[in-house]
Amino acid sequence: DAGITQSPRHKVTETGTPVTLRCHQTENHRYMYWYRQDPGHGLRLIHYSYGVKDTDKGEVSDGYSVSRSKTEDFLLTLESATSSQTSVYFCAISVSVGNTEAFFGQGTRLTVV
């Protein structure tokens, strides 16, 4: 399995608090992604990174920010958590985008109460 670790695996937080999720890889892959998955919506891309300090928005980026100061770490921050951000969050990595596979982490289950 690809070396990709998400932390924490589970978190419960209160509305209005900031939350940071971490994705760590040991594969030295260029691309990293954050997705959220909710019933009936499949996987939706939040933000992605195509290199250190190079990030861009995905399909559902409002209320989220990201940072990538090192190749191996991609952080997702919920600036002020809301109940609508209760979800399962997946991180993924890939060497490139076109004809190579992406590897996914085990997910973080976030509950905002």
């Binding site: 992604y33 499949g42 891309l45 399909e59 997946f90 993924a92 490139s96 076109g98 997910g107």
Partner: protein, 112 residues
Amino acid sequence: LAKTTQPISMDSYEGQEVNITCSHNNIATNDYITWYQQFPSQGPRFIIQGYKTKVTNEVASLFIPADRKSSTLSLPRVSLSDTAVYYCLVGDGLGRDDKIIFGKGTRLHILP
């Protein structure tokens, strides 16, 4: 990015061959077709990828007709453990797109 359309759900029985078809009418010349599998409470897992004709690995086969406007994922002799969501993706083989976008996938339910 070429849009894909696949059935929302399918049921089949153990031991049967299952074929899941994906439509991608606007596929571009450089696009590859990739399928992922996702079990409950896990992240998606790459199954197979192809450009044209037929690709086979230890898990599945992928059939792509000459016009490439559709593709069919074939799972031979499924078991209960093949119950999962299957996603079809189309992406630029030259890597000019920076993002990987998933649709809603096909929820496959295998019955005993």
